[in-house]
């Protein structure tokens, strides 16, 4: 199961068998991975999968129960304070001061990060421009929209130009337009050599990452570039179905022996099958018998969501024998 790359000189974040228990609950159940300098590394998983817990341990905000980790060469347990001078962190919840104005928040973090006096004005201007907040510099932060708040938070987190940036679900609760803009900023930072560690539960967002770890119930169940994950972990065919009354159709298709699983996807359905031809025939027959008009049925390149659903399903089905499930997915 050691599929992750061996730590090299280029490794900037490195984690070995990291665990975090809250009482009897294992929020993070032994994960290992490495992040290379300059890459955008994504952590994809549903809510409660252990993404925030992992990111907090990496930033030195939470002590791990077991396992080791290094960030920028410093130990996450013993050298948390050294790590904190070299990272920027943006938590899931907006955590700047609502009562302060945009400018006051920037000045505050500029003081906290001890941005050199000579660079202070320039960095502030950069943040205001980057976040598009120059006209609102004297507005209270509380009145800003979600997208603005988020760009301001990002700006404050990188005031001191850290080499590593940790973003915990930075785009949750933000409109798609702002989300797109935000990713432009992340690309921009990565282009300047900043390593970005980002968690998300949005599939389409995870496609933007150079490498992706899929985390589910505290375990890392897949790791690799998004394109590779789609081909490596998806040996089965995905069929896209568009028909009348997709809810009813799903019930029918589910019962077909040729189909492994089926899920609602957009306005249609996605069905997974090992034999695409047999499944296609069976689906056509079943829908015709039920008098459900079929408008489209074709084999498609699996999306990350298909990969994710299929991996999670395999994981859940293999719960009693977790080791077996692990081998199955990583092959």
């Amino acid at each position: 199961m050691r599929a992750e790359p061996a730590p090299s000189a280029e490794t900037i974040v490195e984690v070995q068998n990291l665990e975090k228990h809250f009482g009897a609950f294992k929020a993070v159940a032994g994960i290992s991975f490495a992040v290379r300098r300059g890459e955008i590394f994504g952590f994809l998983g549903p809510n409660g999968a252990g993404k925030s817990t992992t990111i907090r341990m990496l930033c030195g905000l939470l002590a791990p129960t077991a396992g080791t980790g290094r960030v920028a060469g410093f130990d996450i347990v013993r050298q948390a304070e050294q790590i904190k001078t070299r990272i920027g962190y943006m938590s899931q919840k907006f955590s700047l001061y609502d009562e302060l104005t945009v400018e006051e928040n920037i000045d505050f973090y500029s003081g906290i990060y001890r941005v050199p006096k000579a660079k202070k004005a320039e960095r502030k201007a950069w943040v205001l421009e980057m976040a598009g907040l120059a006209a609102h510099r004297r507005s209270r932060t509380s009145v800003l929209s979600g997208g603005w708040k988020q760009r301001l938070a990002l700006g404050c987190a990188v005031l001191h130009e850290p080499p590593i940036l940790f973003l915990d679900e930075p785009t949750s609760g933000v409109d798609p337009n702002s989300r797109r803009q935000f990713w432009d900023l992340i690309y921009d930072l990565a282009g300047r050599g900043v390593t970005v560690f980002v968690t998300t539960h949005y599939m389409e967002e995870s496609e933007y990452c150079d490498r992706l770890g899929i985390i589910y119930r505290g375990e890392l169940i897949a790791l690799g570039p998004p394109r590779e994950l789609k081909t490596r972990h998806m040996s089965e065919a995905v069929l896209e179905i568009e028909c009348a009354r997709p809810n009813d159709a799903m019930g029918l298709i589910e019962r077909l022996p040729a189909v492994k699983e089926v899920a609602l996807f957009g306005k249609g359905l996605h069905a997974v099958a090992s034999d695409a031809i047999a499944a296609e025939t069976a689906i056509r027959a079943a829908l015709a018998a039920a008098n459900l008009a079929l408008t489209r049925l074709e084999r498609i390149v699996p999306t990350l969501e298909d990969v994710f659903v299929s991996l999670c399903a395999a994981r859940s089905a293999g719960q009693p024998n977790a080791a077996g499930a692990q081998t199955e997915v990583s092959r």
Partner: protein, 377 residues
């Protein structure tokens, strides 16, 4: 400690205070209101005690005895009653706290040179007041006895011997025995302690509750910078409260301020720092605003009110409780404030109080810094 980070925290905290005028108004208004309430309402003086008389004989001698009560400011004559039932009613309804019952043969027995029984019935529901009333009554009776004795001696011997004892009392520090003079400086200390701890008890807890702490602890900021940076602006608020309290004490309640004003404010500053630190320590431990503010109330107001000696003498407490008072900072500040205000003494007698406040402040700040952990859980 890095000065820039310290200033960043202090400036940010000052902005929070400025942007929240309601809390600021409370921080200044509550001490004024409390000082007014306690200064006017809380009095331990016993005077104008209402009393009634059942004079069954109605003689010049009995009237003279009763007149002695009415002549002092401690008693207030509410009339004579006709019978015992009326005496009971007067005490039941609290129209009177004291009833004097003089028997029909009062004058006759006095004239015969015999002891005349007088009954004094006191409402003992409030034991402290009752004890004082009894004391006053006894004193008047003794005075009356002495006068009678002297008259008798003059009648027999033709002259009055000089009394054996000539007691001349002088009350120092509070010559009028005004309890306000001793309550106002004490309550000042109680109020300052309460407000200071309440103000800071919310600061760290609010940051934990709102999630802003998560961002802050991901930075290189150090606990000492957070704690001292947060203390500074609240220290200013605390000192403003103290100035208001001292001005009210001197100009509104006319409590004499006999000692050094700079010393008063110097040690006041120590006390403010000590209680601000206590509040911030509570905040660091509780991490919830409601819990923190309640803990701050209970841990400052109660001990300051009951165990500081501001109204209830420490010497009269049971040994265990007296022991506990030694760790109540308000105790030292109350003793200090009273010393400065009423006795006009300086550090030569009050250095112990000042020293304790320094030690307390340093220890609590150190513990608060240690307990401000830059981690979850």
């Amino acid at each position: 400690m890095n000065l820039r980070r310290f200033w960043a925290i202090a400036r940010k905290e000052a902005i929070h205070i400025r942007r929240d005028p309601r809390s600021l108004a409370l921080a200044v208004g509550i001490p004024m209101l409390m000082l007014l309430m306690f200064g006017y309402a809380l009095t331990l003086d016993v005077d104008r005690v209402p009393f009634v008389v059942l004079d069954e004989g109605g003689s010049p001698a009995s009237r003279e005895f009763v007149a002695r009560f009415g002549a002092t400011r401690y008693f207030d004559f509410r009339g004579t009653v006709a019978n015992y039932a009326d005496v009971e009613r007067a005490l039941d309804t609290r129209d009177a706290m004291l009833a004097l019952v003089l028997p029909p043969n009062f004058a006759a027995q006095l004239a015969a040179g015999q002891a005349a029984p007088v009954q004094a019935i006191v409402d003992g529901a409030d034991s402290n007041t009752a004890a004082l009333v009894l004391g006053y009554t006894q004193a008047i009776a003794t005075g009356f006895n002495q006068q009678l004795a002297r008259e008798q001696i003059r009648r027999i011997a033709g002259s009055v011997p000089a009394p054996a004892l000539d007691l001349r009392t002088r009350v120092w520090f509070n010559p009028d025995l005004e309890s306000r003079n001793f309550i106002v400086p004490g309550i000042m200390a109680v109020i300052m302690g309460l407000i200071a701890a309440l103000l800071t008890s919310l600061t760290l807890a609010r940051e934990w509750e709102r999630g802003t702490m998560e961002q802050l602890i991901s930075t290189p900021v150090r606990p000492v910078e957070i704690i001292l940076g947060k203390l500074l602006p609240y220290f200013v608020v605390g000192m403003v409260d103290m100035v208001i309290a001292v001005l009210m004490a001197v100009y509104l309640f006319e409590v004499p301020l006999r000692g050094s004003v700079p010393l008063l404010f110097g040690v006041g500053a120590l006390f403010v720092v000590a209680t601000l630190a206590q509040g911030i320590l509570i905040s660091a431990l509780a991490r919830q605003q409601l819990l923190a503010s309640q803990l701050a109330m209970v841990s400052t107001f109660l001990p300051a009110f009951l165990l500081s000696g501001f109204a209830f003498a420490i010497a009269n407490m049971p040994p265990v409780v007296r022991g506990i008072t030694h760790i109540v900072p308000a105790r030292y500040f109350v003793s200090f404030v009273k010393g400065i205000f009423l006795r006009g003494v300086g550090l030569e007698t009050l250095w112990r109080d000042a020293l304790f406040l320094i030690v307390f402040a340093v220890v609590v700040i150190a513990v608060a810094i240690r307990k401000t952990r830059k981690r979850f859980g």
